[in-house]
């Protein structure tokens, strides 16, 4: 039960949460009984919300009210005092949902979690009370496993800014890449105040807005270039090791501070002072807390190898003493404003720290599929008979509007968002930086100055005072990688007597009304509700049998016997487990030297990512469910692409991989046309700055080389993978370099290849284990187990391309009473 906390996206430690969440979502065979249920209460389509079983729409300002109502519902059942609130939620379905959810939470007492992303102390207090009442502490929630991240207190920062601007501060040190000039709502005041200070030092590894405002900068190395240690949560301690020597003339922050403070002079005089300092500290403070190793050297060596260690911390005695009644006045009130805006942290560049990372800028936002910009999500509505109606008639994605809150104004493109609550809009933070480097400066618009604090000094990430203009302009370079978003969004068709139809199928044509089933009858994506899983599996089995029967009518004899010898590589993707963190996509880009093409090229649909994560909305048009389908080269055994290449640049290996010979490709693009999954990518222009024509080539030692052409940036390339030139096709190779490496390792160790020896980049990056790579001919492999799962299907199986990727049906755990029309 989640009030807006995007724990699968950007809230606290999403990778850990995702991994834990997935464990209770994956189903083996048809046993759905143990599956968890996530109900999300929010206004915008957050990443977590898109993975929820239910989304109930509430406005940002009424989250407090909703929490209070839930609290009272639980409190009455467990005998706790209620809180005094009145008022109704603006969405009647939400009122009913709270009651239903309260019942479900009661049934799952001790095994449930209630979360909220609210930055209001009182509201979080209520959430604690709810969890307490449900007995979740000690079960699903444990204070002894507390996170050490995000320890900042908004009020203290706010007080600091007051001191700074009033001149009470003499000097400021910004450490750990802190960047409040950009990401604090009062950043402008900080900047102006810094200008008047005599001493302001930025201890930072990257150029930033704050660093530009400071008088001095002490550049630190990147964390991968230096030693360090971390303590992310109670009991977890990790050592950060450098992977390369520092590239530039930098000094670790710790060493800077030690130098200035004059401490530990003997360490400072030795060589590698940082390493010595950390090691000494571990010996002094941490070695004593563990019981596994007898000598410190053993402890140190083993921890270095593992990367982290778990130490015993004393269990804390915590007691609960919250006065509910005092909270009533402090929760946020439902504002009766025409429009509310929810600000959120996007997945790729986070709060702005990664804005200069082109991989993350070009990673399409999983929900909007937009790159290199932030957008205003606007609501849409099905008009009941024939078309969609859009907020302020903004009927096209990429139209520019002005978002104004008091004196702050930004111009942003809009995206028509399915599932955005009417009367609300949403916008991402993290964009609009201006001093971060070549890639990130000037991308998008910053919403930080629009954030306001409540009476307790906590920054509120929503506003009830936005004013959105109508269409002001059009972003000609608006870059989205997906233009059709739905596979069966249902609504009522008044012109057909109120029957429930797929409204997207009705509106997909320019003239006329399309045909029902035009999208949903495609065998791309299959979903089931957990309580009907057995029937869905039965239905799937019949369909697959029919497809396989059709596929057996072939002109040529098939090669299944041939592929049954040796290895036959394949992959399984579990759609239930995919929570679209998009780590797989970025990992693929990193591993395979996939070029970044920039906003203009993506706006022309020239994106190069080998792997994409298609996002489809399905279900109720007001609050649809979402499925994410990672789509990569399917390595079809009857590949349509191989047949049509005139120069034999692509063929099938004896191990079932579709191979691509880049240096043979002439670039006719017939293979890309013939791919039913459209996974092939063409190098339309010289994206790798490695032009063949001598007069077009870039001088790598020139100061003004374009991005990617200089020697430093080229260090990002993986030496195991070719860099492709202009005019050739490329696509997922199932990390063939890793396959070869795995085989070579096994050969050198004089043993057979085992399942798990070879892991593709996408598989390695996935926190939920949704992607599994393996050998179909290895009967004991995990892959085979998954491919034989009754929920597995092949996308577009009836085209008889014999894809090697099996998708497992998405199963959602629905309670049909939530969000339904009936009482």
């Amino acid at each position: 039960m989640n009030f807006g906390a995007d724990f699968l996206g950007t809230w606290l430690t999403p990778a850990a949460f995702a991994s834990q969440f997935a464990k209770r979502r994956k189903i083996k065979d048809d046993k759905a009984g143990q599956m968890s249920r996530l109900v999300q209460f929010e206004s915008n389509m957050s990443y977590t919300g898109s993975n929820a079983d239910h989304r109930v729409l509430i406005k940002p300002s009424e989250q407090g009210l909703a929490i209070a109502k839930l609290h009272n519902a639980i409190a009455s059942k467990v005998g706790m005092p209620s809180i005094d609130i009145n008022g109704n939620l603006s969405n009647p379905k939400a009122e009913k949902a709270i009651a239903t959810v309260a019942d479900e939470l009661m049934q799952a007492r001790g095994k449930a979690i209630v979360l909220s992303n609210s930055n209001n102390t009182a509201e979080q207090g209520l959430v604690v009370a709810i969890n307490q009442g449900l007995g979740n502490y000690g079960g699903t929630l444990d204070f002894n496993e507390s996170s050490n991240l995000r320890q900042g207190i908004d009020k203290q920062m706010s007080d600091f800014i007051n001191e700074l601007t009033s001149g009470a501060v003499d000097a400021v040190l910004f450490i750990d890449d802190a960047n409040p000039v950009y990401d604090h709502p009062k950043g402008k005041q900080i900047e102006e105040a810094l200008d008047k200070l005599n001493l302001s030092v930025a201890i930072t590894s990257m150029p930033s807005e704050t660093q530009a405002a400071c008088k001095f900068v002490a550049p630190t190395p990147h964390y991968l270039e230096s030693w360090g240690d971390v303590n992310p949560s109670r009991g977890h301690y990790g050592i950060v090791q450098p992977t390369i020597n520092p590239l530039f003339d930098t000094r670790p922050a710790v060493i800077s501070l030690l130098t200035w403070s004059g401490q530990a002079p003997e360490v400072m005089m030795g060589d590698d002072p940082l390493y010595t300092f950390i090691k000494n500290r571990w010996e002094a403070a941490l070695f004593i807390k563990q019981h596994k190793y007898a000598t410190f050297q053993n402890f140190w060596d083993n921890t270095l190898q593992d990367g982290f260690t778990m130490l015993d911390e004393e269990a804390r005695e915590l007691s609960y003493a919250l006065d509910i009644t005092s909270l009533a006045g402090k929760i946020n009130r439902l504002a009766n404003s025409e429009l509310e805006v929810q600000f959120y942290e996007p997945l790729g560049i986070g709060g702005g720290a990664y804005a200069n990372n082109p991989w993350l800028q070009e990673m399409p936002d999983p929900v909007t599929r937009v790159v290199w910009d932030n957008v205003l999500h606007i609501p849409l509505k099905w008009n009941g008979s024939s078309r969609f109606e859009y907020f302020k008639d903004l009927d096209e994605d990429g139209l520019l509007v002005d978002l104004v809150i008091e004196e702050q104004k930004i111009r942003v493109p809009v995206v028509r968002q399915f599932g955005q609550m009417e009367g609300t809009v949403a916008c991402a933070l993290g964009y609009g930086r201006w001093a971060t480097g070549k890639a990130g400066s000037g991308v998008g618009s910053s919403c930080y100055p629009m954030l306001k604090s409540d009476d307790d000094g906590n920054i509120q990430y929503f506003s009830t005072m936005p004013v959105v203009s109508g269409k002001a302009d059009k972003d000609k370079r608006f870059a989205s990688v997906q233009h059709h978003h739905t596979l069966g969004v249902t609504g009522k068709d008044e012109s057909a007597g109120g029957a429930t139809i797929n409204v997207d199928e009705k509106t997909v044509m320019t003239l006329g009304y399309g045909v029902q089933g035009g999208l949903t009858k495609r065998s791309i994506f299959r979903h089931a509700a957990s309580h009907e899983l057995a029937e869905s599996i039965e239905h799937l089995k019949e369909e697959r049998a029919e497809f396989q029967h059709l596929n057996e009518q072939t002109l040529y004899p098939d090669r299944s016997e041939f592929y049954g010898m040796g290895h036959h590589w394949g992959m399984s993707v579990d759609l239930t487990a995919c929570i679209v963190c998009a780590a797989c996509q970025v990992a693929c880009v990193a591993e395979n030297n996939v070029p970044i093409v920039g906003k203009t090229e993506v706006s022309r649909h020239h994106e190069m990512t080998w792997m994409r994560i298609d996002r489809y909305y399905y279900g109720d048009v007001e609050s649809p469910n979402v499925v994410y389908q990672p789509m990569m080269c399917q390595h079809c055994d009857n590949a349509p692409c191989e047949n049509v290449c005139p120069v034999a640049a692509t063929n099938h290996s004896s191990e079932g991989l579709n191979q691509m010979a880049y240096n043979r490709c002439v670039g006719t693009r017939y293979c890309a046309n013939n791919c039913p999954y459209k996974v092939r990518r063409f190098n339309w222009l010289d994206y790798n700055a490695a032009d063949l024509f001598p007069s077009n080539e870039n001088d790598p030692f020139n100061e003004n080389t374009p991005y990617y052409a200089d020697n430093l940036t080229r260090m990002v390339l993986n030496p195991d993978v070719t860099v492709r030139s202009r005019g050739v096709i490329e696509k997922c190779s199932m990390c063939v370099q890793r396959i070869q490496e795995g085989k070579l390792t096994a050969k050198q160790e004089k043993r057979m290849l085992q399942d798990g020896d070879i892991r593709t980049a996408c598989q390695t990056a996935c926190p939920t284990g949704a992607i599994t790579f393996g050998d179909m001919n290895d009967h004991g492999s995990k892959l085979n187990e998954l491919l034989n799962d009754p929920k597995t299907y092949v996308a577009l199986e009836e085209t008889n391309v014999r894809s090697s990727i099996g998708y497992m049906m998405k199963v959602i755990n629905r309670n049909e009473k939530i969000n339904s029309e009936e009482a």
């Binding site: 399309g514 022309r604 120069v647 670039g667 459209k678 092939r680």
Partner: protein, 472 residues
């Protein structure tokens, strides 16, 4: 084969010509200085050609990214133009070869120019597979030649490779067939010329003397080449249709494409022949050789092939519905109702509706109407290929990949450049070579000249001394 020529046959050569007049009339355009009309047209054509060359060089220098093709629509104006030009080229061979096999005398008025048009159209078409590739500097990889890379040969399963063989064979055979027929006509020009012109035509005429044995072999060769060229025409456009028919994309993967494409090719080719002939006969004063009869006959072919094409469109729609295969059904609904519905409307009205005007004999024999119709048909056939290629690709199996395509100035420039190439070469052709097949027209004079047949025949066709005259 001997037959009596019926007196009610319409004459194919008007103006009471004799052999010498035929020679004079047809050789005149290449012997006199070019008219102002020719010069102006040539300058316009060359300027289009130059712009086209510039656009091609721009594409090669910067990359296919200067076009608006994208990850979903990999072929757009480039392959549309390719198929359009190849289709146009088919009329020449049809007129020369198939009509020869069917003993249609009216082919002699138009076959020379039509075959020339074929050569030029195939050249324009062959440009596109060359320049649409991402790496034109290795386009020789298409050719199976022994090399030090294995040797690595090519993929003979690929329809694009079949295209390579088909189009080069078609170009070669058309060129040989055209040139073989041109040799006696070049001899005619040689024997009338002097100085540099004589040297030029001497070279081009290969030492032709007109000996009986040579004519015997000439006819024998023509017959066999015609017999080879006929299945070649059918096979070449069939193979071009295989570029689409052998793929898996719904709307492309259909067995109707080979006959549909061939009929469409003949349709558009005849339209282009008419466009050229209507202007040529007027400007070069060849109305006596390219008569209204010729135009009437060609319009009948247009009506027939246009109707076949229309039936094919309707069959596609029917089969899409009947198949029950959702991807195919959606693909066709998308053509009619989707984002490119205007292209479909243009295609249907220009190709199916407008040729129906030729049911009327009066319309068939009206030169102005014919000219306008020929332009419409070519526009309609261009839209047909546009509907087939980008419309189908833009929305195929996976809706997440759906996209949109519209050309950049570079692509439009290349297309205009090919028009420039085509008309430049055609205009040069009219200056250098006889536009009508002199020898062949002379051969049918006695049976088709208007003094020998038709309503106003002054002489009968009966030969003195009762010699039999073979029908041609």
């Amino acid at each position: 084969m001997s037959a009596i020529i019926s007196p009610i046959r319409e004459p194919l050569i008007t103006g009471n010509k004799n052999y010498h007049q035929i020679t004079e009339d047809i050789c005149a355009p290449s012997e006199r200085t070019p008219s102002l009309a020719w010069v102006v047209a040539f300058i316009v054509a060359v300027s289009f050609l130059s712009f086209g060359v510039f656009c091609i060089l721009w594409t090669i220098w910067f990359g296919i990214g200067t076009w608006n093709l994208n990850r979903t629509v990999g072929w757009g104006w480039d392959i549309t133009n390719f198929v359009w030009w190849i289709g146009i080229g088919h009329a020449g061979t049809l007129i020369s070869a198939i009509l020869l096999l069917f003993r249609q005398k009216w082919r002699t008025g138009v076959n020379r120019a039509a075959e020339a048009m074929t050569i030029f159209a195939v050249l324009c078409a062959a440009l596109f597979p060359g320049i649409h590739v991402g790496r034109i500097w290795v386009v020789f990889y298409f050719f199976p030649y022994p090399n030090s890379r294995g040797p690595l040969w090519v993929n003979f399963n690929s329809p694009l490779l079949w295209d390579l063989f088909a189009i080069s064979t078609y170009f070669t055979v058309s060129l040989l067939f055209w040139y073989t027929g041109l040799v006696p006509d070049f001899a005619t020009l040689r024997d009338r010329a002097s100085g540099l012109r004589k040297k030029l035509y001497n070279f081009l005429s290969f030492g032709w003397t007109g000996a009986a044995k040579h004519w015997l072999r000439f006819e024998s060769l023509s017959l066999v080449l015609a017999g080879l060229a006929t299945p070649l025409v059918l096979s070449v456009h069939t193979i071009v249709s295989f570029d689409f028919a052998t793929s898996v994309i719904p709307g492309w993967h259909t067995t109707i494409f080979p006959p549909y494409f061939v009929a469409g090719a003949i349709f558009s080719g005849f339209a282009m022949v008419l466009t050229l002939m209507v202007i040529t006969r007027k400007v070069l004063k060849l109305e006596d050789y390219i008569t209204v009869e010729h135009i009437d006959s060609m319009n009948k072919v247009i009506l027939l092939t246009g109707t076949i094409v229309g039936v094919a469109y309707l069959t596609e729609l029917f089969i899409a519905w009947y198949s029950g295969y959702i991807y195919e059904q959606f693909a066709f609904m998308n053509r009619v109702q989707g984002i490119y519905w205007w292209a479909y409307v243009a295609m249907m009205s220009c190709n199916v509706l407008s040729p129906q005007i030729f049911w009327s004999s009066k319309m068939r024999r009206n030169v102005t109407v014919t000219f306008m119709m020929s332009i419409f048909v070519n526009i309609g056939m261009w839209f047909e290929r546009f509907v087939i290629i980008p419309t189908t690709l833009a929305r195929d199996y996976l809706p997440s990949s759906w996209s949109y395509y519209s050309p950049t100035w570079v692509e439009i420039g290349i297309f205009l450049g090919t028009l420039g190439i085509f008309f430049t070469m055609y205009l040069a052709f009219t200056r250098v070579a006889p536009v009508v097949a002199i020898a062949e027209v002379k051969a049918i004079l006695k049976s088709a000249g208007n003094q020998y047949t038709g309503e106003h025949a002054k002489h009968s066709h009966a030969a003195p001394h009762g010699a039999e005259i073979k029908a041609h």
